[in-house]
Symmetry: C2
Subunit: 209 residues, 2 copies
DNA sequence: CATATATTGTGAATTATTCAACAGATTTAG
DNA sequence: CTAAATCTGTTGAATAATTCACAATATATG
């Protein structure tokens, strides 16, 4: 009965990772089912919003019963591609890059970091089983079909982005503190402490405006 | 005095860091003024939206001329508190924490990391001039008036958050991969690779739903 | 098996955000 | 100095997102 591809609101898409994270935690705690009202308390999003968000993925809940946590997680995996066999590349193998290669080993599946690149010859050592190649070999070493890159290097950022786009990258997770313009068709997600802190400050200082 | 405060939309607040970042880059390039249409091309946000967003901060532009970049940056600093003398604390002094302490030295002013805390006795060495104290000394070592914490440690996350809230922290930048419930009055910003990648995947796979 | 109870899924109402259009301020050119 | 050109700030219309309210449907119970 579920509406085939109504277009999912952007705002909803941004909440899915929040649900997924909470659901995995609940599963780990041994829970098997959950009500939208309970989940609401966990993620601090209104239960109506949750139900509507989930309804885009199908008819997943049961009236009078709630949602099966296992089933929800499965649906996220299937429908939204979390189980995809995607190879992710990492640009920059410094402190931050190393931390990411380390996470790669124990975190929830989101694909895996296939390899890293760095301009510094001293950094070209595999860490946590992730090989690190010279930046100059990007075009030849990049895995076939690779779509997503994580950017932690901070030199020549704009040039690197353009180069990645040419290699077929369509999604970039950006850890740099630079302002970047992305080519048409490429999506970028900022993961930036400075911006995050600024947002916090802006919100907590708003009354002063 | 702040009663003329129209309330700034949440969406606008989230764009301010983007503008600020772009403006700083433009200033560095030697530019002195900019039109909303030009800025629009840089940040990839419609010029009308930009003008509206900026109008919440006052009458900053001049018809027929545009905006002074310097002035805009100043206003962000003054009105939104970027110049504040805030002390930020860091929880966790591992790879990621080290990267942040390093950034602390050369990045745009957003306050500074005053000190770090870690449970691991081996990590209690100052890095890049940031002292690292044992986690057990949080309550005594936390700087007076400290409001913002960066969370990179991944053990006992929820307990740590509750403890931070008791110490007066109202804003948390969260780098962990855990799902966290924050107490009333505390804001949290996720800075999470996994979620960022998921969002990218969700957006690029949306047609499959 | 029938009835009471609980909870989802969703139209309709509300609220928030974006965007187009334009009046009016400001600069620039002559 | 005056007129033409430019570009902001804002009004109001369009679009998007949230929330309400309740019918539909399941479970639980006696």
């Amino acid at each position: 009965m579920s509406n085939n591809s109504r277009n999912v609101p952007k705002a909803t898409l941004q909440r899915y990772p929040v649900y997924l994270k909470a659901l995995r935690q609940l599963k780990k705690q041994g829970l098997e089912r959950i009500l939208s009202d309970e989940l609401s308390k966990h993620v601090q999003i209104k239960s109506t919003t949750i139900r509507r968000d989930l309804s885009f993925l199908g008819t997943l809940g049961k009236q009078g019963y709630g949602y099966s946590i296992e089933k929800l997680i499965d649906v996220f995996n299937e429908k939204l591609g979390t189980e995809f066999d995607e190879k992710i590349i990492l640009i920059g193998a410094g402190n931050l890059g190393s931390a990411l290669m380390h996470y790669n080993r124990w975190q929830y599946v989101v694909g895996e970091i296939a390899c890293a690149f760095d301009v510094d010859p001293e950094k070209l050592v595999a860490r946590y089983d992730v090989p690190v190649y010279p930046m100059s070999e990007l075009e030849e070493r990049i895995p076939k079909g690779c779509r997503i890159a994580i950017l932690t290097a901070s030199s020549d950022v704009q040039a690197t982005v353009d180069r990645l786009a040419k290699c077929g990258i369509v999604g970039i997770v950006d850890f740099t503190h630079e302002h970047i313009r992305v080519p048409e068709g490429v999506k970028i997600k900022q993961v930036d402490v400075v911006s995050a802190i600024q947002e916090l400050v802006f919100e907590t200082n708003e009354m002063n405006i």
